[in-house]
Symmetry: C2
Subunit: 260 residues, 2 copies
């Protein structure tokens, strides 16, 4: 089942997507919903960010080859995390499928994509055991953790390098069913494949993160957990289009443009 958030005729709503048909609902998949007789064609609606999270979690270094590459580029020894320490991003930076990533005029050329699996929390949860951890999820979507690598090195935190407005494309929708072990993440720049990896080749899996996190914190409906990325990105420039495709979910596509 696919949940889409969209705008049509000036109204933003959730809908259930089947093929190219969107069946509009009232309410939302978190607090509850009711079907309506309103239907739309996918091509005729504006796709919105699938959920504005209460808390925006991001796993950071969670694929071994990405950890090694980041260390190499930073000129430091690779330190593979020894335990699942969750990080944070900020919701100001979220944009929808199809919207433009704006590269600030003072950003360097080292603007990179990071295609990621995103887990979407569906119900309040604390103290989950690993075997029950995925039960708190509504489903899965796709994120692009756009990063300015020189700011990432020069700033004490990730506030600017990763949380500049428009740096967090997410979508296009939430897929409730997923078979993690069979999924592949593929990233294309202007149609050419630049990164491909097994989505579930994580250092710490989704269930392990959720189990560890919920020993100390409460997850709430609408919280999102970005699971990290593998591979590396070329420098992105004005006019580039980045597609992040994950098997069984769909493709998140966003153009990039430098601020005038």
């Amino acid at each position: 089942m696919r949940w889409i958030r969209f705008t049509s005729e000036g109204r933003t709503a959730y809908g259930i997507l089947e093929g190219d048909r969107v069946s509009e609902v009232t309410g939302d998949p978190f607090a509850g919903y009711q079907t309506t007789p309103r239907n739309h064609t996918l091509a005729n609606v504006k796709i919105e960010v699938p959920v504005m999270p209460r808390t925006f979690y991001a796993a950071g270094l969670n694929y071994v080859s990405h950890v090694k590459e980041v260390a190499e580029k930073s000129g430091i020894a690779a330190q593979v995390p020894a335990k699942p320490d969750m990080g944070y991003r900020a919701s100001n930076a979220l944009i929808a499928h199809g919207e433009t990533v704006i590269i600030p005029r003072d950003a360097t050329e080292a603007v990179h994509y990071e295609g990621e699996l995103v887990a979407v929390v569906g119900r309040q949860a604390k103290h989950l055991r690993r075997q029950d951890a995925l039960s708190c999820l509504l489903g899965w979507t796709i994120g692009n953790d756009v990063s300015e690598r020189n700011w990432q090195k020069s700033d004490r935190t990730f506030w600017r390098s990763k949380n500049t407005d428009t740096f967090k494309p997410m979508g296009p929708w939430i897929e409730t069913e997923a078979d993690l072990d069979t999924m592949t993440t593929t990233v294309r720049v202007n149609g050419t494949v630049t990164t491909r990896y097994r989505t579930n080749d994580m250092l710490f899996g989704v269930a392990e993160f959720i189990s560890t996190m919920t020993q100390y914190l409460t997850l709430y409906p609408g919280d999102i957990i970005w699971m990290g990325t593998d591979g590396h990105s070329p420098n992105l420039k004005s006019g580039d289009v980045v597609d992040v495709e994950i098997t069984g979910i769909g493709t998140l596509s966003n153009p990039f443009a430098r601020e005038a």
Copy 2:
């Protein structure tokens, strides 16, 4: 003017606090409100977290003596930040004035307070100049950035050391008027003063942070910005009560208890 968020007779609402009288409103101070004929005595309402933020910003190291103390305790050289790099906390950890900070059963004895000034954003803002930066604020409240110092050293991020449920008391209300230069922050443990500092003795002031941040990100109504702390805390234990008082705002008071 003081904005208070409270619950009375099962209803949570905003009100305007004058002396010990709460005048209930409908709506909120961010999107707009209307007065009602309903009045309450402060002592008879349950005080709630004054706002659940869209994004929870925290300045981290922003007072020179605190930077030096943290470095000394960590056995590293003190590095005073060269520019205002903002950090993040998580709203799951927020609790109201009077609510109990629960120390997890596996936390060490090094649980500390950090009494902080909190700026509350009132209107959407981007690209603010320093001289206009404070114009986006609704007002000011008080935060206690409770921290488990050993987790702060052992974990790669602050997710557990600073964002465990109940580790972020905030309140008791939002004061719209403040003369930062005349304000003092005083922290008491069980009634005895343990920390006192000039609230505005910051490395980077509120206006400088907001001006820098909004060159890259949009602030939204309800966002909160915690401004960092000075001084140091004793180890806090079950039964302790920590008061954070800031001149002109009020006193945020919370008991501590270790998880059973």
